[in-house]
């Protein structure tokens, strides 16, 4: 079927090109008359349906008339068909019905009824349009969209106009602006007009445009404005009028100032996001380091295990509960925690327990464990990254300002981290287990004398620390790749958090992680990501000169250890 249809089309095209010249000459006059006269007479006679059908007409001039007609009717229902015509996805059946193909071109639906149609059973042809029709088409679509009742459609249309201005629509925009009630759309309408007004001959209009741009314009206007300040080879300004130039340079500095604030706000958010991730990664590390004085080099692998646990839960849902797929993440939270916690407890019982008082050797032994864990994951899941999909409520983001999109996943992680930190804090401060953990952290020997089973506490704490890292892995799976080396990427940074924040206090870890996140993100645009990291390292070493035990060191007797 497809083959014959292309052949058929080909023949038709040939005929068309032969007779094109005659066509144009003959219809040129007719078109001129028809465009002016017909719509008026036809508006009342024909209803929307037949106007839409006119899009399937065989002559270009009739298509053009139909398009204009639809534009005058102002019925937004015509937009899909018109857009399909512009994007070459509109086809006409033998019976004259309009079929809109979807993007893949395999399926289509009727433009009027919206019903799915079987493409194979129909003989289809494409309507032929030329540039003149296309111009009218764009104008009409823009017009229909600008007057649409849906403010989202109006917004999209206005943004499109800002990107690809078309001078013919200025009058329409002015009209639409007068009626517009939505502030966001109004603003963009104003910008469209201002952009247009810059090239006007009327000085007053230009100054007015510059004023608008100065007040609400964004970075996209900078090139236009800079063009106003350019000089020719002799060093003379291309723009003769000094008031325009002054106004333009004011507008530029105002835009730059605004952009600076927007960038800072974005940095703030991304710093907070990075900091919260580091916090999840480092929280468990700080707890176990504070308690036992050992650095767990395999801590990064606990993150990785949490992430892979999320991946496994996701796959199970995909397989057995596809209807509830979007809720896999909620189920994954306890599972990621438990998986990492169990591995952590095994690790503590089998290796770390035997190395008390030998912190450096613990470091090496846990490094060995991390190698084994990485290689095991590689053999089980493969060395490639696996994909963990965002559930629908975490995909996408909210655009708070022009150019600043906050992804929902990152916002969710920040909230999640707050929840985790509060839980851990409550656990350590308000429960008897927490009391015992703090007692052992402060003075192991004395706690033991008072009847606290330090071995048990060590085990629980290690499980808790590892479990929190597992939650960190779950969070990371929502914003980045999940691979066997996931933990390695964050381990050095989480060590830095611990060094910076000191041990034994959650507040230290929170401040350390957020501080590191902010400093990193604010240095990145200035110095680049890598130099930023090096500067951070130097800063940490400098800070340690002043406070060797971190920002929030425990005071008193324990401080010496």
């Amino acid at each position: 079927m497809t083959k014959t249809s292309t052949l058929y089309k080909y023949q038709k095209l040939k005929v068309a090109s032969k007779s094109r010249k005659v066509f144009i000459r003959f219809f040129g006059v007719f078109l001129f008359l028809a465009a002016g006269l017909l719509p008026l007479s036809l508006v009342e006679a024909n209803d929307f349906e037949s106007a839409l059908k006119g899009l399937g007409s065989k002559s270009r001039s009739k298509i053009k008339i139909a398009v204009k007609l639809l534009g005058d009717m102002g019925n937004p229902a015509a937009i899909p068909a018109l857009e399909a015509l512009r994007n070459k996805r509109l086809q006409i059946s033998e019976g004259g019905a309009l079929i809109i193909l979807d993007e893949s071109g395999d399926q289509g639906h009727d433009a009027l009824s919206g019903k799915q149609v079987d493409l194979n059973s129909l003989e289809l042809r494409k309507p032929r349009i030329n540039n003149s029709v296309r111009r009218v088409l764009s104008m009409t679509i823009g017009k229909l969209q600008l007057t649409s009742g849906d403010s989202d459609v109006r917004l999209a249309a206005a943004k499109e106009l800002l990107k690809r201005p078309s001078s013919g629509l200025v009058v329409l925009v002015e009209k639409a602006l007068a009626k517009e009630s939505d502030d966001e759309v109004r603003e963009i309408f104003l910008l469209v007009l201002a952009k247009e007004g810059l090239n006007s001959d009327d000085k007053k209009k230009r100054l007015q445009s510059l004023k608008t741009i100065k007040e609400i314009g964004n970075n996209d206007f900078k090139t236009d404005l800079e063009a106003l300040l350019e000089k020719d080879e002799k060093g003379e300004f291309l723009e003769k009028d000094p008031t325009i130039r002054k106004s333009a340079s004011q507008a530029i500095s105002s835009i730059e100032r605004r952009q600076f604030f927007i960038n800072q706000a974005a940095n703030l958010f991304y710093g907070l996001s990075l900091g919260s991730i580091l916090l999840l990664a480092a929280l468990g590390l700080a707890i176990t380091f504070g308690l036992m004085g050992v650095i767990n080099m395999a801590h990064g692998e606990m993150l990785m295990i949490g992430a892979y646990a999320t991946f496994v839960v996701q796959n199970l849902f995909k397989e057995y509960l596809p209807g509830f797929f979007d809720w896999y993440l909620v189920v994954a939270i306890p599972i990621a925690f438990t998986a990492s916690a169990i591995i952590g407890v095994i690790l503590e019982r089998s290796v770390i327990r035997h190395l008390y008082g030998r912190p450096l050797e613990t470091l090496l032994a846990t490094w060995g464990i991390s190698l084994i864990l990485i290689q095991s994951v590689r053999l089980v899941f493969g060395a490639q990254n696996v994909e963990v999909a965002n559930p629908y409520y975490l995909s996408g983001g909210v655009e708070v300002m022009n150019g600043v999109v906050l992804p929902y996943s990152r916002i969710a992680i920040i909230i999640f981290v707050v929840f985790v930190v509060i839980s851990v804090w409550t656990l350590l401060q308000k429960t008897s287990l927490g009391l015992q953990v703090r007692a052992v952290t402060q003075n192991r020997g004395m706690a033991s004398c008072l009847g606290i089973s330090t071995h048990k506490i060590d085990m629980y704490t290690f499980g808790l620390g590892s479990g929190v890292a597992g939650l960190g892995g779950l969070a990371l799976s929502q914003i980045g790749n999940v691979g066997p080396e996931l933990g390695q990427l964050y381990i050095v940074d989480s060590f830095m958090v611990v060094v910076l924040g000191g041990v034994g206090k959650i507040a230290g870890t929170v401040v350390g992680a957020l501080g590191l996140g902010f400093v990193n993100k604010f240095l990145e645009p200035i110095a680049g990501a890598v130099l930023g990291k090096i500067i951070v390292l130097v800063l940490i070493i400098a800070l340690i000169q002043k406070r060797p035990q971190g920002l929030f060191a425990l005071k008193g007797r324990m401080a010496d250890n």
């Binding site: 650095i295 090496l364 060995g368 890598v530």
Partner: protein, 368 residues
């Protein structure tokens, strides 16, 4: 002075050391030159590059043992000093390629590739071997001295120091990975042609490099042995075992730690410089944190606080690595990981410790 050096080892010890030296420097080259290739006893040419590489690692292990085994300071950043020496040598070798690179330009190939017009200032001087040698001998030590001064002054020790050094090597690795840094980025420096006018492809050059490495290693060993058996060495061991008490006895531990730390970096830098012409490449992955941790395991395998153990450990671990990566690449990390765990749990004194159980005559220093 000479008397002191002679008394470093017993007569048996010296005989053993010179015996090994004789085998490595005389017997192996003779077996390569005079024994026909069909013979079982023939030592193939490639063996000298391989052995040379292991000897460089042994020199690194010696350096790590000084700082970790004797002074109790675990550094996870020795890859940086190794790479500094390596990159300095690599830069000289790059410059001596001349116009014979792929692009026939005076600039190193990667700079032409990145469309650089002239040599960055920090490449000046590397046309001269004497200058390069000076950089190799001074830069790693100087860098270590500066870093160590600030770290030791604020009494960073134990795990904190290990973490800080790890962060240092990590940060520098990221820096060297960038093309803009001007050291060849990801690919590093490679495709060397000659050293001091001798082609690096020639077996004779390879053998000369190998013999130079042996001599350097031997001298470094004697130097290290001299240091650890001097009074200064005793103080270092005391710092390892009870730093506070040493301080209370009136010693400024900062000076001692700084000295041995700088010496260790110095030896490591030389090892890097010898490594590059024999292996033919230097790239930022040498600065991966994992590489520096592996260096610690070489020492742990042989036995900490016994210089000879470090040499043995470096050879054994790297030999095993070479074997595994060919025979069972998937299981190398398992082996290495298990090695880390088993050693720390069951054999904290390493191989030397295992042997000394059987012969109680050799006293092995107790590591902390």
């Amino acid at each position: 002075m000479i008397k002191k050096i002679v008394t470093l080892h017993s007569l048996k010890g010296w005989l053993f050391a010179f015996g090994l030296l004789g085998i490595a420097m005389v017997l192996l080259p003779l077996l390569n030159i005079f024994v026909p290739e069909e013979s079982v006893l023939h030592v193939p040419d490639y063996m000298f590059s391989l052995l040379g590489k292991y000897l460089c690692y042994a020199l690194v292990a010696l350096a790590v043992d000084l700082i970790w085994g004797y002074t109790g300071i675990l550094s996870l950043g020795h890859g940086v000093f190794f790479s500094m020496g390596g990159y300095a040598m690599g830069m000289y070798l790059m410059r001596s390629i001349g116009k014979e690179g792929v692009y026939k330009s005076d600039l190193p190939d990667f700079m032409v590739f990145l469309d650089w017009k002239e040599l960055p200032w920090y490449w000046y001087g590397f046309d001269y071997f004497a200058f390069t040698l000076l950089v190799i001998l001074i830069l790693p030590g100087l860098f270590a001295f500066t870093f160590g001064y600030f770290a030791f002054k604020s009494r960073i020790k134990g795990v904190y120091f290990a973490i800080i050094t790890q962060a240092m090597t990590y940060a520098l690795m990221l820096l060297f990975f960038r093309n803009e840094t001007g050291f060849g980025g990801n690919n590093g420096l490679t495709d060397f042609k000659r050293i001091l006018g001798y082609s690096l492809q020639e077996p004779s050059t390879k053998m000369s490099l190998y013999i130079i490495t042996i001599i350097v290693l031997f001298l470094s060993y004697v130097l290290s042995r001299y240091v650890v058996q001097s009074k200064l060495g005793r103080v270092l061991t005391a710092i390892r075992d009870a730093e506070s008490r040493v301080m209370f006895s009136g010693y400024n531990t900062l000076h001692y730690k700084l000295f041995v730390w700088t010496l260790s970096a110095f030896l490591c830098g030389i090892a890097g410089a010898l490594y590059v012409p024999q292996v033919g490449i230097i790239n930022p992955s040498e600065m991966q944190p994992s590489n520096s941790i592996e260096m610690a395991i070489w020492v742990a395998v042989g036995g900490r606080g016994t210089l000879s153990g470090a040499l043995v450990g470096a050879g054994l671990v790297n030999g095993a690595k070479s074997w595994f990566t060919v025979a069972a690449p998937d299981y190398w990390l398992y082996f290495l990981g298990t090695l880390f765990i088993v050693l720390t749990l069951f054999f904290p004194k390493g191989l030397v410790g295992v042997f000394s159980r059987f012969s109680s005559k050799d006293k092995v220093r107790e590591p902390s």
